[in-house]
C-alpha cells in the first residue's frame, strides 16, 4: 500500500499539486486520471521521488519514503518498476539488452539464467521476435511493451505506468491494458497508472483518483465512477458524445442495480447461448 499525505509541489511560484491525499491499494490497479496538465505526471514522479515534494509525505507500506536518504531509497526503488510516458528505452542498446540491464546491474544469477528470464518476460509481452532490434527500429506500441518488460523483469512489488496507452491505436491500447491487468493479478503487484483513456478506466480501474487542477477531486472505483454526482468528474468522463449516451443510459433501470455488470454479462452470455442453440 502506498499512502500520499498532503502532497504539495510547486515550480517557481506556480502551484502544481495542491494538498493531495490519497491511498494506493495493494495488489490492485490504481488509476490517476485527469485532463492534460492536471498534474498526473508530476504526482507520479513525486511518489517515486524523481521530483522532491515541497511538503507532505509518501509512505510505502508505512515507511516514510520522503524522509529517507538516497541509500535507503535505493532499497525501496529495487522493488519499483516504472514505464515512462515516452518509454525511456536506452537507445544505445537492443531490446534484449534493455530488458537485461536491470538484471545485469542487480542480479547475481548466471548469464544463462538471466537470458532465460529476459526471454520469459519478452514472451510475456509478445515481443520475442524483436529482441535484436534497437529502440529506433520498433513502433511506439512495441516500445511501451519493452518498457513494461524492463519494468517487470526484476519482479517488482510496485509498478508505475505513465500513460501506457497514449498515442496508441484502440486495439493495441487494449492489449497493453490487458497485459498490465494480468501482470498485476499474476504477480500481486501494486500498480499505479496515469491515464485519460476512459476504456482503461472502465476496464481496469480497481481504484481511481481523479485530479483536477492539482487537487484530488474524487476518489472511488469503476463501479461508482459513472454514478458519481461530481460535476467536474462528469464533464471529464462524459466528454465525448458517445459517452453522453452512456450518461443517459445510467438513468435506465438496469443500471440502478449494484451488480449491473454481472447482470449485463449474464444476459449477454444468455443471448450467445441462445444463438448457438438455434444453429
Amino acid at each position: 500500500m502506498i499512502e500520499l499525505l498532503n502532497i504539495k509541489k510547486g515550480f517557481g511560484d506556480k502551484e502544481i499539486l495542491k494538498d493531495v491525499t490519497a491511498t494506493m491499494a495493494a495488489g490492485k490497479i490504481n488509476l490517476i486520471i485527469g485532463s492534460s496538465g492536471s498534474g498526473k505526471t508530476v504526482l507520479m514522479k513525486c511518489i517515486v521521488g524523481l521530483i522532491e515534494v515541497d511538503s507532505g509525505k509518501v509512505l510505502y507500506s508505512g515507511q516514510d519514503f520522503t524522509a529517507m536518504d538516497n541509500h535507503q531509497r535505493k532499497e525501496i526503488r529495487k522493488e519499483i518498476g516504472m514505464l515512462f510516458q515516452g518509454s525511456a528505452l536506452f537507445d544505445s542498446m537492443t531490446v534484449e539488452q534493455n530488458v537485461m540491464f536491470p538484471l545485469d546491474m542487480f542480479s547475481s544469477e548466471r548469464l544463462r539464467d538471466k537470458k532465460k528470464r529476459v526471454q520469459e518476460v519478452l514472451d510475456r509481452v509478445n515481443l520475442n521476435e524483436a529482441g535484436k532490434k534497437f529502440p529506433a527500429e520498433i513502433s511506439g506500441g512495441m516500445k511501451k511493451r519493452v518498457g513494461i518488460a524492463r519494468a517487470i523483469v526484476l519482479n517488482p512489488k510496485y509498478l508505475f505506468c505513465d500513460e501506457p496507452n497514449s498515442g496508441l491505436d484502440p486495439q493495441t491500447s487494449l492489449v497493453i491494458d490487458k497485459l498490465i491487468k494480468e501482470l498485476t493479478v499474476e504477480y500481486n503487484i501494486t500498480t499505479v497508472m496515469n491515464t485519460h483513456d476512459m476504456n482503461t478506466v472502465m476496464e481496469s480501474g480497481d481504484h481511481i483518483v481523479y485530479m483536477f487542477e492539482g487537487k484530488k477531486q474524487w476518489e472511488g472505483n469503476n463501479e461508482e465512477i459513472i454514478f458519481s454526482k461530481d460535476k467536474r468528474l462528469n464533464d471529464f468522463i462524459f466528454a465525448s458524445e458517445f459517452l453522453q449516451d452512456a450518461k443517459e443510459m445510467r438513468q435506465m433501470e438496469v443500471f440502478k442495480d449494484k451488480n449491473w455488470r454481472d447482470k449485463l454479462k449474464a444476459s449477454n452470455d444468455q443471448l450467445d447461448a441462445d444463438r448457438e442453440e438455434k444453429r
Binding site: H71, R73, R77, L89, F90, D104
Partner: protein, 247 residues
C-alpha cells in the same frame, strides 16, 4: 552574473560529490569505463594524429622563418620546436580541440538521456546515475587524454622534422641533434600535469551541462555549445595558472 556563477559552481561541486558512492555492480561500472575509454580515447586518435602532424610542421616552418640570423645554429630550431610543442601545443591545442570533440559528445549524450528520461529510468531502478554515468566518463578522460597528449607530442615533433626536411630548412641529423640539446624532463611532467587538469575540465564541465539539461532537443544543442565554450575558456585560464605556478 556573479550570482549565477556561484549557483553553477555549487551545483557542479555537489554533482562531483554525488559520484562517490559504492557502485551497485562493479562489473557494470568497469564495462561502462572501458566503453568510455574506447569512445573518448580511441575515438579521438584520428583527429589528434592530423592536428599534431600539421601543428609540428607549422611550428618548424615558423620558427625557421623567425630565426634568420646566421650566428644561430640550425639545431636551435629543433630545440625551440621541441619545447614549444611539449610545453604548449601538444597539451593545450590538443585539449582545446578535444573539448570540442569529446565535450560536445559527452554533453549531447547525457542531454539526450536526460530529456528522454533514460536517466530517470536508471534512477528509478536504484542506480546512482551520477556514479554510473559521470564517473566512468571522467575517469576515462583522465586516463586517455594524457595518453593522447603524449602521442600528439611525439607526432608533432616528428611532423616538425618532416616539414623541415621537405622544405629544405634543416636536415634530419641537425634536427635530431637539436632535440637532444638541453632537454628537461621536467617539461614533460609539466605537460602531463596540464593534460590531466584539462582532461578533468573537458569531461566534467560538459557532463555537468549535459546532465542538467531541461527541456528538449533545442536545449541539448545549447548545452553542447555552452559546455564547449566554457571548457575552452577554463582550459585557457588553467593553462595560464599552471604556467605561472609550475614554470
Amino acid at each position: 552574473m556573479e550570482f549565477k556563477f556561484f549557483y553553477h559552481f555549487g551545483k557542479y561541486v555537489l554533482m562531483l560529490k554525488g559520484m562517490f558512492t559504492k557502485p551497485e555492480n562493479i562489473r557494470m561500472y568497469w564495462k561502462e569505463f572501458m566503453q568510455q575509454c574506447n569512445d573518448i580515447g580511441v575515438g579521438s586518435t584520428g583527429i589528434v594524429f592530423i592536428i599534431s602532424l600539421f601543428m609540428g610542421g607549422v611550428t618548424t616552418l615558423q620558427t625557421a622563418y623567425q630565426l634568420v640570423s646566421p650566428i644561430i645554429p640550425k639545431a636551435t630550431i629543433a630545440q625551440v620546436v621541441r619545447d614549444t610543442i611539449i610545453l604548449e601545443f601538444a597539451p593545450t591545442l590538443t585539449c582545446v580541440i578535444l573539448a570540442g570533440v569529446v565535450g560536445s559528445k559527452i554533453a549531447s549524450e547525457l542531454g539526450n538521456m536526460r530529456v528522454s528520461e533514460q536517466i530517470d529510468a536508471q534512477e528509478i531502478m536504484g542506480i546512482n546515475t551520477k556514479g554510473y554515468l559521470l564517473a566512468p566518463k571522467i575517469l576515462a578522460a583522465l586516463l586517455t587524454i594524457p595518453c593522447l597528449v603524449m602521442i600528439a607530442g611525439f607526432l608533432g615533433i616528428w611532423g616538425g622534422k618532416m616539414a623541415g626536411q621537405l622544405a629544405g630548412i634543416i636536415s634530419s641529423e641537425e634536427f635530431t641533434q637539436g632535440l637532444r640539446q638541453e632537454f628537461k624532463a621536467y617539461n614533460v611532467f609539466f605537460a602531463l600535469s596540464k593534460s590531466v587538469t584539462f582532461a578533468f575540465i573537458i569531461s566534467s564541465v560538459p557532463a555537468y551541462y549535459g546532465y542538467n539539461v531541461q527541456g528538449g532537443a533545442l536545449e541539448i544543442g545549447k548545452a553542447g555549445t555552452t559546455a564547449v565554450v566554457v571548457s575552452c575558456v577554463l582550459i585557457l585560464f588553467a593553462d595560464y595558472a599552471l604556467t605561472a605556478i609550475l614554470l
